[in-house]
Assembly symmetry: C2
Homo-oligomer: 485 residues x 2
């Protein structure tokens, strides 16, 4: 349990540890499902031929993987993916949906969680927050130093209620090919993505209304529904593709659903991507029924694969999709700059924003504009994606290593969240409280449900590099889980 | 109508214009009510003896004031305050209160107003916004340039839900002697004062509840009440001292008032200060009835007299006063940093904040902290107060000069707002729209009422220096009013 856990394969490496590097590379492939449990791994010679590694290095790598419990050597047959891993790798099982809309009661516990944010002694393994290491602090520092007095003049007054025109133009430019042709006039700037979703929700629904959500769903959605005295209806959700459109259609025939809150790209907490055909079918259904969808696309840019997923907005023909996103996961959580593309509800969203908060921060919008203008955003996105992908692999490896064998984990294609299903006997609220005593913050699964489900699940976040200290926290967490069983 | 309107008495002056300077000084005293209509002004010799002005300068000053229509020369008796002015100076008359709580419908029109904010071609004479000229842009510019990479590290992540501890400490230090002993743990940082009021309102009341307000009241209060589907009850309000406590007591016996929204210091829109005895009586009554007061103190620091008014909070013995303020009127509207001291409702406010918006902007809080730390805040406050006092005098002078004679104006003791009551025949929504065609923004009085009252009133703001261009706008406004009559 004390061995060094190499951070990632692209770290600066001593040639002596080349085999560690190779072992990590193979481990990632296994964890990503490129090799299945029981499957035979490439021979020493094959890897030697296809890479620059000596036979001896490849052999040492396999020995290392065997030591980690990820591969098994079978006499005269070579190396195979371990069966234990297979068990661990399966997706979490989920239960059936309740039929009735529920009053939401997650605010207290959610608040208990978020009030921990920013406490320095705490290791947050449960929040979807990118660490400072992957944020472009140096570039922002340069931008600060370059602000002229004339520019200050534009930065310190109240803002117009739509937000900075320049920022809206930059966003409009970037949405091309993702959400169809969006003009700057269709975009409204908000205080982060949560604020965008909050305004959109209040624009389309009122207290007492029923809001459809995925299950499990993002706890933030439930918090907003609760604070607005609305009801949540959990919709049957496929673990790897999102909400079941056919079942949704039946439900809409019997329930007065006022709007839906969906997070189709790297869903929080499951991490799946809804396939395009399904997106199209979903939006067509909702357009037909005239029911607005609030689309949370905050993780859309954080794809581990080469291309970003599309959006529900791009299939929207009636302006009924209210698209929401922010720069909090890619550039700067602390700046609180997000936006909404509210379709036909623009007027209502704008009115709510100007009535509730007057305006957003001009300075923060200005800083983001400067960043987008100097073309380093694309580079930053590539960097964040790479880092998160590595960190997610490292996180999965650590969970596999330290959690009990009956643990099941999701297979996120991007984003920040990993869903972990523990033994049925585990109450993760208890786990959360025990872990907090050790200064470790996890997110109990009940926060993602309106009916007290997922009590044996937790959400983990890959925003932090899996340092030795972080890995230690996962190990301690594993210990607590064993103790609770 | 083409003469030069000198900006203020402390502008850099050519000795040739010393008489203009003196005339302005006397005009301000007259407008502040130090001399009443028909009252004899000090003799030339008296002023000469008590100031450094020659008899000739004093004489020229009186001639100038006569030309302005502010004084009249009476043969062999000297100079007297003009009667016309007396008429103009009276406080606006107000009508009786309605007895029943009302559904609020100001959001649409309010939004029509605020959506104009930030449009550069517009002269806003109606909004309570300090101009950039009086904001400490240079000092903030220095702060930007001094942020180290290490500090950047603290500035870019998500914030804790209470907000920056250092900022809360700075605020706690400053509230000493104003709101009693307030510790940093009793303070929560918000996105400006409106956000603070919004959170506090949602913490103490729910949809359908009745909220008591002054009349006329701050349109922002009514917007929040409307957006939260609550009802507003206008309380009998004395024009120079605020809500009538005895009448309030009667009302509370018959109406289920859930909470009250008060702005006792330089009330928006009337500008009055509630006297201390009245504050004490008011808070005692509300404490006794166990009804929370949300106190908006955003103008508290903007006193034209030497000392700032006290707060309702300082008389609160039960933690039922939820105090709200911000740095938007004194330092930087664009940073959106405010705070609440919610008394016994801290837990609810904190929960709402963390559930609705996750956190505020760390960067903006950091910038304010740097400003407060280097002790220039006191200097900035003195500067803002002086400038606003001058600008308010200039604004009043301009209104007196260009508006019809039956116009009545309030006598603000601080803050940013001037309440102007026009002839009964004037519909100020019409005025607002006509003015907008001339790129002038005024605020129609109906926005300050739930019962369509004050249709012949407008609110003006003294945030801008009365430049020649600004004065021209007041002149045009006066013309439109004449045309409407």
């Amino acid at each position: 349990m004390n061995r060094v856990f190499p951070k990632s394969i692209t770290d600066e490496i001593d040639m002596t540890f080349q085999y560690i590097d190779l072992a990590n590379e193979i481990e990632i492939k296994v964890l990503n499902g490129e090799f299945h449990a029981g499957e035979r791994l490439p021979s020493l010679r094959k890897i030697h031929n296809e890479s620059n590694n000596s036979i001896s290095t490849v052999h040492k790598a396999y020995m290392e993987l065997e030591r980690r419990g990820i591969v098994e050597a079978r006499e005269k047959s070579g190396f195979f993916v371990s069966n234990i891993l297979h068990h661990r790798q399966e997706s979490p099982k989920l239960v059936e949906c309740q039929k009735n809309p529920q009053k939401v009661r997650v605010a207290k516990l959610s608040h208990e969680m978020t009030r921990q944010v920013g406490k320095t002694h705490l290791t947050s393994v449960g929040l979807a927050i990118p660490a400072n290491d992957i944020l472009p602090l140096k570039q922002f520092s340069k931008i600060f130093k370059s602000i002229s007095i004339e520019e200050m003049d534009h930065v310190f007054g109240y803002d117009r209620s739509m937000g900075s025109l320049e920022l809206r133009r930059q966003i409009a430019k970037r949405t091309l090919g993702v959400s169809g042709r969006i003009s700057s006039e269709e975009i409204i700037i908000t205080n982060g993505c949560m604020d965008a979703i909050s305004l959109c929700l209040r624009a389309v629904a009122k207290p007492g209304d029923i809001i459809g959500v995925e299950t499990p769903t993002y706890n933030g959605f439930l918090q907003l529904i609760e604070q607005n005295n609305m009801f949540a209806l959990e919709l049957p959700t496929n673990l790897t593709e999102g909400v079941e459109v056919d079942k949704l259609e039946e439900i809409l025939d019997s329930q007065q659903v006022k709007a839906c809150l969906f997070n189709p790209s790297y869903q929080n907490p499951l991490g799946y991507v809804m396939p395009n055909e399904k997106r199209e079918k979903l939006v067509r259904l909702m357009n037909h029924k005239n029911i607005p969808i609030i689309e949370d696309d905050v993780f859309g840019e954080l794809h581990f694969e080469e291309r970003r997923p599309s959006t529900l907005k791009s299939f929207d023909e009636k302006g009924l999709v209210l698209y929401c996103s922010s720069f909090s996961k890619t550039l700067a959580p602390g700046l609180r700059v997000g936006w909404a593309i509210p379709g036909i509800f623009m007027e209502q969203v704008q009115e709510l924003k100007s009535n509730l908060s007057l305006s957003g921060s001009k300075l923060n919008q200005y800083l983001i504009v400067q960043f987008l203008k100097n073309d380093s955003y694309e580079r930053q996105l590539r960097f964040v994606r790479n880092e998160l992908k590595k960190q997610m692999s490292d996180l999965i490896m650590a969970v596999v290593r330290y959690f009990p064998k009956d643990t099941r984990i999701s297979n996120p294609g991007g984003g920040l969240n990993l869903w972990v299903q523990l033994n049925d006997k585990i109450d993760t609220i208890e786990l959360h409280r025990e872990a907090l005593l050790e200064n470790i913050l996890v997110m109990p699964g009940v926060l993602c449900s309106v009916s007290g489900r997922y009590q044996n699940c937790i959400r983990l976040g890959c925003g932090n590099p899996v340092t030795r200290h972080f890995e230690k926290s996962i190990e301690i967490l594993g210990q607590i889980i064993y103790d609770l069983m």
